[in-house]
Symmetry: C2
Subunit: 338 residues, 2 copies
DNA sequence: CCTGGCACTCAATGGTCACGAGTGCCAGAA
DNA sequence: TTCTGGCACTCGTGACCATTGAGTGCCAGG
């Protein structure tokens, strides 16, 4: 167990390093923080912290920098979440309130997050699986071809073309549309399969094939999690870490382009509460020198999607966490209103 | 007027510089190209080319590099468009053929372009204004609330919520839906306003307000060019120009995040034929050291949107132009099929 | 008009050296 | 025990300098 003062030293190191981006030494520490002890004492503490693996020195005769483990301890025990100022909150709300549709909400959220944190922002579109159905529309494009349009409570629209095995009449289609909607509107996606299970049986023999095909496509659309979309922004902020440049930034840009990677990244975050993954805690190799702060957001109590920030391990955790949490909260409100 | 050989020298300089990314001198030139003359002669030619502003030297006693003007001449008169190899073409076609919907097509196109050119790819979604209407759907969400869904021939779906001044019956709505579709399906967006102009008059007094509101929203959606979307990819390729780094790359990343800038950029490209904008020819300041190669694509003869590549002025123009043109052609085919 | 030769320029390279921030350790004070 | 001041040591950084070599412009001769 580390003594109270050692923790204080670690906190000071993290804060200074985050501020200056330079290894911090014992003397500078005592000058900039009121630790009440001499540099020599701090040196001893630092030696212990290094033994325990919380800090490291890039080379002999240089200051110390926090390790991933050090940041972890900092986040878990030393750092609070820094709430935003009232003007900031108001600005967020105003900015998000003027969004006109879902794309706009997500787009604004991304820009907002990127600007507030000065880092890379990632926002997942409200996921289909946890939303509820607002409406299902069926349009006959040609006798045997139907367009299926699915509208969610979060305003998202998915559409699929369905080729039926046999022509289907307008009446049957209208019938199906009506019955389908009466069953699924307002229900959660997860419940839909069960709700429509026996629907084909209630149709005439000749239409059953078509009905089954349409329903199959609908279910397919529902479970197709791979289609989850997300938006990212603020990549220009990566250039703020301009030292070790191409080496650090390249794999990050590559990872950011892989939607799969990002979705997995967000997926790993806890459903409720904030998740912070630091450096090597991230499964993806390219993100080993970055931290991810993610949180779920939703129109109700339940999270329908996640959003977060990707930045260097050397980031302002309290501030970032505060911004992420605040934005998530407001986006949730906006979604609930619409 | 520049002599034939001087042009040849310029071509050689551009090619070498693009290959090596280093200023090229007279000696190296004669060694790597069969110009049939001595370095001294080349030096004289280079002096002339420099006087004319086609090349420049970063500092005394260094080789020459092409200026924007030099690249311009190269593109206009010296460079052809390098066609892709047959295997490459086949790979493109296969890759694009397996796309399932519009998002997928655009996504794949972006990745493809980025990979082929090893640069940043930008693909605009088929624009609304030039497309034709496939279907308009009206859904009553509540008595006075209608959801308008617009489906285009390119598979794009736009949806808007409409708050009507007065409740509107299901019958009136169905009526409007039918009449609206019979008038506009298959027509170009640009023609729609005229086609629906007199529609409100044919309705009962009590419904006219609602009908007008719905139509107004429809027209609004049609003209709303600002809503044009695009997708970018391959930003990681920016790190390949790792010399002058943050300075060069930062403004580019910033520009790429501004959809407005990109849309304007693509908008400036000619509707038909390939457009190449080099360095300072780009209006946007952040892109002053990049070149943009753009071309329109579409399902028929007419371009419905544009796609292109953003890279350093020092790029392989023939290869890039070949890739851009080929990809545009195949995307057009895919769109025509669906 | 082309070529070979020559003097000149200047970025890049690499070696040396002094500086200073930072460390670890230890003896003595609290 | 715990903290402190002192001291010797390490090593990255930046300044200075000489060397190198690619590249140039110019000129006289083919």
């Amino acid at each position: 167990m580390l003594s109270e003062r050692r923790l204080e030293v670690l906190r000071a190191i993290v804060q200074d390093y985050v501020g200056t981006e330079e290894p911090v030494g014992s003397k500078a520490l005592t000058e900039r923080h009121r630790l009440g002890v001499s540099p020599a004492t701090v040196r001893n503490d630092m030696a212990v912290l290094e033994d325990e693996g919380y800090i490291a020195q890039p080379h002999t005769s240089a200051g110390r920098i926090p390790t991933d483990k050090g940041y972890r301890l900092f986040v878990d025990r030393l750092a609070g979440v820094k709430p935003l100022s009232t003007p900031e909150r108001r600005a967020i709300q105003n900015f998000l309130d003027s969004a006109v549709d879902l794309d706009d909400v997500v787009g604004r959220t991304v820009r907002l997050l990127a600007q507030l944190t000065r880092q890379v922002a990632v926002v997942q579109y409200p996921s289909l699986t946890r939303s509820t159905v607002r409406h299902v529309e069926l349009l006959a494009m040609s006798p045997a071809r139907v367009m299926l349009v699915l509208i969610t409570d979060t305003g998202r629209v998915e559409q699929r073309m369905v080729d039926c095995p046999a022509p289907v009449s307008e009446e049957s289609l209208a019938d199906l549309r009506a019955r389908l909607n009466s069953r699924v509107v307002g229900r959660r996606f997860a419940d839909v399969p069960q709700l429509v299970q026996d629907l084909p049986e209630s149709f005439e023999q000749e239409d059953r094939g078509a009905v089954s095909t349409v329903l199959a496509t609908l279910l397919e659309t529902l479970v197709e999690e791979t289609e989850e979309r997300l938006m990212i922004g603020g990549t220009a902020n990566l250039t703020r870490f301009a030292h070790d440049f191409p080496l650090t930034i390249r794999p990050v840009l590559e990872a950011l382009e892989e939607q799969v990677v990002l979705l997995k990244l967000l997926g790993e975050a806890k459903d409720s509460g904030m998740t912070v993954r630091i450096g090597h805690e991230n499964a993806h190799e390219g993100l080993n020198s970055t931290s991810v702060v993610a949180v779920g957001y939703g129109s109700g109590d339940e999270a329908v999607a996640k959003l977060g920030v990707v930045g260097p391990t050397r980031m302002d955790y309290p501030g970032t966490m505060g911004a992420v949490r605040a934005v998530a909260r407001y986006v949730g409100q906006i979604l609930a209103e619409s």
